[in-house]
């Protein structure tokens, strides 16, 4: 964080708490993400990193604290100095600038690759069909799947499906991209192609928050690595510091498993 230090953060999370019934998953998360920054969240399973990601676009509601994306508080609005819950439509509108890529890809199986990509731009963002198709083809070229325009998701490998899912998320021209363990459901030999695509995006200045187990990706593509454990941020900083020279014992023991 050097030049962009003066800019306003794109994402601001303050004292975020989240519990499922009585199980506390997030115990006060503070995190700022600057425009153009690539933040990789590492941590053992159950550390709350996926839950935190899902709170950012309000797939999960938080119980304490607040999250702001692009100047808007997610899920709520201030009215006459009082905070009120947004309606479903209000929340849907806020989500329209946030792209998301899921662990299980979640492509729409009844639609072709092209239909998958243009669904939100045409149906939600009211782009013209012609422009959306044009843009979709560009994006497919970018993820290296131009020849799969008319294929159904079932006909693609896991890695190809995930690259389509990335193109689909990019098609809404998001200000922020969330990746929820994008390579965890993939066969090892298919992980590389997806990570390469993501590395490309990182280089192009897209703001990304990535939850992953891929230490190598964190080391190469991240501007900042955040290590979470037990619902709190234990350590964060430049990848060479957090991964190369971890200070906290829990970070050390987590990373030692990957060496």
């Amino acid at each position: 964080m050097t030049v962009i230090d003066t800019a306003k953060p794109l994402v601001q999370a303050r004292n975020v708490h989240k519990a499922f019934d009585h199980l506390e998953v997030l115990k006060g998360i503070d995190l700022d993400v600057m425009p153009g920054e690539v933040v990789v969240i590492l941590g053992p399973s159950g550390s709350g990193k996926s839950t935190f990601l899902r709170c950012i676009n309000h797939l999960e509601a938080i119980q304490k604290g607040f999250i702001e994306v692009d100047g808007e508080q997610i899920g709520y609005r201030l009215k006459n100095d009082r905070l009120e819950k947004l309606s479903a439509i209000g929340i849907a509108k806020q989500r329209r600038k946030i792209g998301m890529v899921f662990q299980q890809f979640n492509l729409y199986p009844h639609m072709t690759v092209l239909q998958n990509i243009i669904e939100a731009p045409v149906g939600v963002h009211r782009e013209s069909r012609k422009d959306a198709i044009e843009n979709a083809k560009q994006l497919l070229k970018r993820v290296g799947l131009s020849e799969k325009v008319d294929a159904y998701p079932r006909q693609l490998s896991g890695g190809q499906q995930q690259r389509v899912a990335i193109a689909r998320a990019l098609a809404i021209k998001p200000k922020l991209m969330l990746f929820d363990e994008p390579t965890s459901a993939l066969d090892p030999e298919l992980v590389g192609e997806v990570l390469a695509t993501m590395r490309d995006l990182a280089k192009q200045g897209l703001t990304m928050i990535v939850v992953t187990h891929e230490i190598s990706f964190a080391r190469e593509a991240a501007d900042r690595v955040v290590f979470m454990d037990g619902g709190v941020i234990v350590e964060q900083g430049k990848p060479e510091d957090v991964i190369g020279n971890p200070q906290h014992p829990r970070t050390q023991s987590f990373l030692s498993r990957f060496l």
């Binding site: 439509i89 509108k93 989500r95 998301m100 299980q104 979640n106 199986p109 009844h110 939600v124 079932r154």
Partner: protein, 308 residues
Amino acid sequence: MINSTQSDAAPQGVANFRDVATAHTPFRTGRLLLWLVIAFVVIDFGWIIAHNEGFGWPVVAQYFFDPTVISGLYVSLGLTVVAMILGVVIGLVIAIMRMSNDGLANGFASLFIWFFRGTPLLVQLIFWYNMSTLFPEISISIPFGPTLASWDTNSVITPMTAAIVGLALNEAAYMAEIIRGGLISVDRGQAETAEAFGMTKGRALWRIIIPQAMRSIVPPTGNQLISMIKATSLVSVIAMADLLYSVQSIYNRTFEIIPMLLVAVLWYLLITSVLNLGQSYIEAYYGRSERRNAGVAKVEAATGEASH
């Protein structure tokens, strides 16, 4: 390696004889015998039917296209189509209400399903038909306030409306459960993805969830449609001139009960057979993304998917 008792059939080392491509199916005498016995029984049965005067085949032929029968057929078909469409639409609404987190909607849907599934259709039909004894007038008014408009119940609830309302509401209760089952069967991640992309609930349902749910909704709905065709025969008790009622009205005059019932049976079978055919086409349509080879999929759809 090979058992000595069977070694002469396939001598060791002679690979040609062991290649399964050269195998033949041995003649099965028992099976031929079974076929002959069954063929005999079927032919005998057919002969009995053909020669039993009681069936009155000439009468069946004579009345098959009788104007009364045909108009009854139209009534049955029309009733089926209207009641089914209303049933599906109301059923969809009830299913969505049943799945919502809203207590009011959920409670209403549960009550609806409980009542209309829990009482016999025949009773419901008679009930609707006799609505006027309960409520002689139907009116639109502000509760405890002035009346805006009112009608005589007997002029609103004709046999036709009683039949449509009765059949449609009963069907809606069953369709609601079928549709709900279909919606639940769609992976939760799909709704979540639609949500994450900023779709409204309605759009997500219409574009993402329902098309995928169709695969499990269509087969039982086909079942329901066929049940519905037959259930329309119940409306004959409220003097609605459907297919059954019209053949009854003929045999009340001519006393040719069995031949006239056969006319109705043959028509019912004819319709349900056509529907079966339609159902398999619809199933093929909603299963199209399941097929692996997309390039072939279009050709397959064009040639009518005959191989399955």
